[in-house]
């Protein structure tokens, strides 16, 4: 005999079904609330974490053997490192298009220091020679000028264009008003090879996989980027920087002027 109050599908009365459903819903909302609270706590914790300490691969610059080439005030609140290969086209594009703005509006403004680290890639035949050329220019206080010349003229001295880049490098040395004899002696003896290899080793230690790769504050960012993106990373790093690191703008400007002259 059919019972009017029986649930045909499961043989339970509607009151029982409704109560069970209520319990199930309650359980669901409790679990949902727990998941939401746990997720929110984890995210808030991540957002408040002391970033510089948590960082593994991108410690702030600690020049030992690998000191790179400094531009700007070494004590600026944000430290920027660039690992680049003089023969890499993306590095060239960044150096020619974006880097002037980075120097004028970030480094010269005292917001950050900038260190260039050689990261010559094995597939680029003349890259090591270019690193040597720049290192020898640094002896005469012209690293950044030579850096700019090398990147600007990349199409004429790269490994596919010539087997004898030295001839072209000498032209840049002359045009920059350097002592060519001293530069040539240094270049031929590969005086700074160990410095270049140390810079490269620093990149390997930080697991740099492509060029250019930037370390801005505590973040490692592979690939060239626009000025706006670069500035956003600097601003983000600036917020993370310890409050004690105040900008010595005047010192920064004078150092940067000297370096970019």
């Amino acid at each position: 005999m059919a019972d009017k109050g029986v649930d045909g599908g499961r043989g339970r009365r509607p009151g029982v079904v409704s109560k069970q459903r209520g319990n199930s819903s309650q359980r669901f909302y409790v679990v949902l609330a727990l998941v939401i609270v746990a997720g929110a706590l984890l995210i808030v914790r991540a957002a408040r974490a002391p970033r510089a300490i948590a960082n593994v691969t991108t410690a702030p610059v600690t020049p030992a053997q690998a000191e790179g080439y400094l531009l700007g005030n070494a004590n600026a609140p944000v430290q920027i490192m660039e690992f680049a290969d003089f023969e890499c086209p993306a590095c060239g594009n960044f150096a020619v298009i974006t880097e002037p703005d980075v120097r004028n509006r970030i480094v010269n403004a005292g917001l950050a220091s900038y260190r260039f680290f050689d990261f010559p890639l094995p597939m680029h035949k003349n890259s090591m020679a270019a690193s040597n050329a720049a290192a020898c220019a640094a002896d005469q206080g012209k690293f950044w000028e030579m850096h700019d010349e090398l990147f600007r003229n990349q199409p004429e001295w790269n490994g596919e264009a010539t087997d004898n880049p030295k001839k072209l490098f000498l032209g840049y040395v002359k045009s920059l008003g350097m002592n060519t004899d001293a530069w040539e002696k240094c270049f031929d003896a590969q005086t700074h090879q160990s410095r270049i290899l140390a810079n490269q080793a620093e990149g390997n230690r930080r697991k740099v996989q492509s060029t250019p790769t930037f370390v801005i504050g505590t973040r490692m960012i592979p690939g060239a980027m626009s000025y706006d993106t670069f500035k956003a990373y600097v601003d983000s790093a600036s917020k993370e920087a310890p409050a004690t690191a105040k900008v010595d703008t005047a010192a920064a400007k004078s150092t940067a002027k000297g370096a970019t002259k």
């Binding site: 459903r21 199930s24 359980r27 669901f28 679990v31 949902l32 998941v35 939401i36 997720g39 929110a40 984890l42 995210i43 991540a46 957002a47 974490a49 970033r51 948590a54 960082n55 691969t57 697991k207 996989q209 505590t218 973040r219 490692m220 960012i221 592979p222 690939g223 956003a232 990373y233 601003d235 983000s236 993370e240």
Partner: protein, 142 residues
């Protein structure tokens, strides 16, 4: 717990992952907790943005849509709704395909693995399986 409620729970888990990655991308979170792989390489690559928005933000949108559909579909009146089941399957299918493409980029183009992105991809596969089971069940009951 019903299938739709389980889907809602999975959506919340996905929202947490996507929100975490989005907050990293916009600079609120400084460093990704990434014990396996290279999350920063992936999330700083040129593939991490789509139409001006971080990929993670698109994922966040998809998870929020799933949560809404699953919550609406969990109500007593709509728990057997076929259109809602179809919408969830459609969303899950699209998301699984999109996640597969992103995973391909990680493995073969960027050559780096982001454990959070892979977790999200696995989550979408689970959501897809559950959503298909849900669609079959509600279609059979009709």
């Amino acid at each position: 717990m019903s299938r739709r409620q389980t889907l809602a729970l999975l959506a919340v888990v996905g929202i947490c992952i996507a929100l975490y990655l989005t907050l990293y991308k916009i600079g609120v979170i400084g460093i990704l907790s990434c014990s396996v792989g290279s999350c920063e390489t992936v999330n700083s690559s040129r593939w991490s943005m789509l139409l001006g928005l971080p990929i993670a933000a698109w994922g966040l949108g998809a998870y929020v849509a799933l949560l809404l559909l699953a919550m609406i579909g969990s109500g007593e009146e709509r728990e057997s709704s076929v259109p809602i089941a179809r919408m969830i399957v459609a969303l899950a299918t699209w998301s699984v395909l999109f996640s597969a493409w992103l995973t391909y980029l990680e493995l073969f183009v960027i050559h780096a693995i982001c454990i959070w992105c892979l977790s999200s991809a696995a989550l979408w596969v689970l959501i897809f399986v559950l959503s298909v089971a849900d669609l079959r069940a509600v279609s059979r009951a009709q």
